[in-house]
């Protein structure tokens, strides 16, 4: 425990927390995206999948046990990710009290320079998303247990679709820099693996953007009703 605290005190320890919790989030969004595509199986298939998520593991464990395990892991991961990010951002700002008059960059890109702001945007979206589809209080016609209805009725509104597309675009940009960074930060990168992790980042960013966008766009265009 003392070793873990000592490690966390160092900037590299905080970065490792960013990487590991980021990896948890990365894994989760991939599963989430695949799960969303169940909407194409129609109301029965989708609601059955939603029911499966609540009852998986029965009867070995009571209903919703695994669901809550996943939720708690995610809650801890997101909290740790945010807290480390705030501490590292503060350290980064304090390390240069006086900035440059002329700023130019050679290697930085949109994704790497907006990682922190993208994170803030994703965090705000996450709150909205939970209120929208989990708690239902941001959903005009929320029906507990009818996931298919909740999804389809929400995405008939172009404004809602717009918000979701923006959010998954932000996710793609975040992961474009973030996925590669996971491996760089925990030290699983050198010149032999660099192209592999860069490639994985690009594929992840595009794949998740497309995969997440399909459902709202399909509902808006009437492909799923």
């Amino acid at each position: 425990m003392a070793a873990a605290v000592a490690l966390y005190r160092s900037s590299i320890g905080k970065k490792a927390v960013m990487a590991i919790t980021g990896f948890i989030g990365y894994g989760y969004v991939i599963l989430h995206m695949i799960g969303n595509l169940k909407v194409f199986e129609g109301p029965e298939g989708f609601n059955h999948y939603a029911e499966f998520l609540r009852t998986v593991g029965e009867p070995a464990v009571p209903e919703r046990t695994l669901l809550w395990v996943v939720r708690i892991v995610l809650l801890v991961a997101v909290s740790a990710h945010v807290i480390s990010a705030i501490q590292l951002t503060r350290q980064g700002i304090e390390s240069r009290p006086q900035g440059y008059k002329v700023k130019r960059r050679l290697r930085a890109n949109f994704a790497s320079m907006t990682l922190r702001w993208g994170g803030v945007a994703l965090f705000l979206f996450l709150i909205y998303h939970l209120m929208h589809f989990t708690f239902g209080n941001a959903h005009p016609t929320f029906i507990q247990g009818d996931a298919y209805h909740n999804v389809v009725s929400a995405f008939t509104n172009p404004l809602t679709v717009g918000i979701y597309l923006l959010a998954v675009a932000a996710l793609g940009v975040h992961l474009y820099h973030g996925v590669w960074s996971i491996f760089q930060t925990i030290g699983l990168n050198d010149e032999r693996t660099d192209a592999l992790w860069r490639g994985l980042s690009v594929v992840s960013a595009i794949g998740l953007f497309v995969g997440f966008s399909i459902v709202p766009v399909a509902v808006l265009t009437g492909l799923v009703r």
Partner: protein, 249 residues
Amino acid sequence: MNLTLQVWRQKNAATPGKYVTYQLADVSPDMSFLEMLDVLNQELILKGEEPIAFDHDCREGICGACGVVINGLAHGGQRGTTACQLHMRHFKDGETLTLEPWRAKAFPVIKDLIVDRSALDRIIQAGGYVSVSAGGVPDANTIAVPKENAEKAMDAAACIGCGACVAACPNASAMLFTGAKIAHLGLLPQGQIERGRRVIHMVEQMDEEGFGGCTNIGECTAVCPKEIPLDVIARMNRDLLVAKITGAS
């Protein structure tokens, strides 16, 4: 060439500085950047003004003493080049150049464009050494080193400690510098004894000096006059995590 120079002038660490504009005529494109500053300083001295203080020593690109942010880029942004080896032909006639010192909390300005880089020395002191046997001189090549490791260690050892990585980093992080030193020693058999405690102590010192964290942007390696690769940071991260997990001290 005629140039307009906007230069950071600061009398000493305690006095706030400001940008001062100078006009410089008839600059030869064959001059190095520091020679151009020498010419400007000569003019300032003849006018009875205080010359611009800047760090320099070998002027061959191998000592790491010089360093100035030119138009937002450390060492002027010419690939693999220190400010002393940067030639005026890379600039345009009539151009305005803004000259700033390395900006970092850990690098306080001493005067004008000179900053105090002792923080880097203290990082080295914290662990940048190896144990050697006292006694007679050993035969050459008695310790076998894999070719690949020898090459990589040599690449990392090319770091001249100029601090451009810190200057260019959006977080003023010294991880490229520290990573280079750790890779340089940790890749060789002679560096294995202290490998764990080296990374722990050097990273500790690096944080203590007030450098920022790394966000994997890569500005450091882009301006590094010795083109130290980002790999050395991944290697340092791995060494630190391994050392902490296995309890090296």
